[in-house]
């Protein structure tokens, strides 16, 4: 039935959608003029960084979404969105190394050793690379239960990403705080609220069942 595998059909569409920020930026850049603003390198850095963070948060939203809907299809998009987060992260790194720092390695080394926001950003990118590399079925098989443990690093990556954003802002923290709040919600949804509720509901149920039984037996 077509309904059964509509996710397989939707995947190429999602893929193209994820490429849209890059396509628009390339069109603006190659079109020349003022489309990328007075400071195009800053615009490219900022945009690629934002899309890394957005893709990460979207990836983290899929598991709670799947649970809320009671359907597995969001999980099937998770790897692709995660890899897009990595993709935009690599573009961010490339813009920084090549356009911003002009591959001036002494300056880059200084950044990487002295500037906390760059250090946390870099750690996040390195971790992301490991997850991207091990995102295949082959690695999933090879690492077995450790694969799941390893890929929990995505939570740390997201926290480091938000921290990177918070630490680079001069005075107006509103924008990074919005990302921090969304991440906070996504992490909070993973706390075992449901299990507690179910557990307490069960204990109430079993207690009342015991009470009913005892009531009926006494009759």
């Amino acid at each position: 039935m077509a309904g059964r595998d509509w996710v397989a059909w939707a995947k190429p569409g999602v893929f193209l959608l994820c490429l849209l920020p890059l396509a628009l930026t390339l069109a603006q850049g190659l079109g020349g003029g003022l489309a990328l603003g007075a400071n195009p390198v800053e615009t490219l850095l900022h945009r690629s960084g934002l899309w890394t963070l957005r893709m990460l948060l979207l990836t983290l939203a899929l598991t709670p979404l799947s649970r809320a809907l009671g359907r597995p299809w969001p999980i099937r998009l998770r790897r692709m969105l995660g890899l897009f987060a990595f993709f935009y992260g690599m573009l961010h790194l490339l813009v920084y190394l090549w356009l911003d720092r002009a591959l001036d390695w002494p300056v880059i080394v200084e950044d990487l050793t002295e500037r906390p926001y760059i250090i946390v950003g870099m750690v996040a990118l390195v971790l992301m690379s490991v997850l991207a590399l091990t995102s295949t079925r082959g690695w999933q098989r090879r690492l077995r239960r450790n694969w799941k443990r390893l890929h929990r690093a995505v939570y740390l990556i997201a926290v480091l990403g938000v921290l990177h954003f918070l630490w680079l802002v001069k005075a107006d923290l509103r924008e990074p705080l919005i990302y921090a709040a969304i991440l906070g919600v996504l992490l909070a949804l993973r706390l075992p609220w449901g299990r507690w509720r179910r557990a307490s509901a069960q204990s109430v149920q079993s207690a009342s069942a015991v009470a009913r039984r005892s009531a009926s037996s006494s009759r």
């Binding site: 003022l34 390198v41 720092r101 001036d104 300056v107 950044d111 002295e114 005075a171």
Partner: protein, 266 residues
Amino acid sequence: GAVAATYPRPGEDEPLTPREFVTGYNNFYEFGTDKEDPAAHAHRLRTRPWSVVVDGECARPGEIGIEDILAGFDQQERIYRLRCVEAWAMVIPWVGFPLGELLARFEPTSRARYVAFETLLDPEQMPGQRRRVLDWPYREGLRIDEAMHPLTLLATGLYGETLPNQNGAPLRLVVPWKYGFKSIKSIVRIRFTAEQPPATWNRMQPDEYGFYANVNPAVDHPRWSQKSHRMIGGGWLAKRRETLPFNGYAEEVAGLYAGMDLRRFY
């Protein structure tokens, strides 16, 4: 013009920054924290009538209207490089006159060791002030010898025209050897003081923004290097340029700081 040629100006390989960037890429948090916000919102600012109160340690405190300022001081063109603390720079043809000429009219006394400046406070006209991103009104200060230095300009225009609102109309400071945030915009008050006056960014993050804020490649901002900067208008592939001590104006101003430890007084 002839006057500009007698003052140090950026090198021949540093063309003027296109006007649309000078007026479209601004840090003026009174109108919002994005670089494009000032151009979008500064039309709310009413620059007439406008007057500046000058008081404190001086013999003739008073108030002077913008019309008197424009008529009473010889307006000249000065081409300066503006170096932002965020490591970008522009080359701007300002119109204005030396601040010292205005200050002299109010006859500062020997007790006047500093000059304090204040921007307009009016959230109606400056919507960015509705949020406490900074401790409004914006305040800045100079030592009196810095204020009286012939390079220190009160700007009333740029590119031969009246100063656009987003650039600090109708009257702003330009101190070319200091980071841009020292050059306070839309000034309504000037005060001679005996003590070092408070400065907005310095108060907010003293380890990142010093009172002196002289452009200095040897003293990094805690979060980024100040050794180089990017010229606005250079496009995607513009190379960074080496930042010079005092933004290239060392010959004129280094003497003001003789004997001072510029790592401590950054």
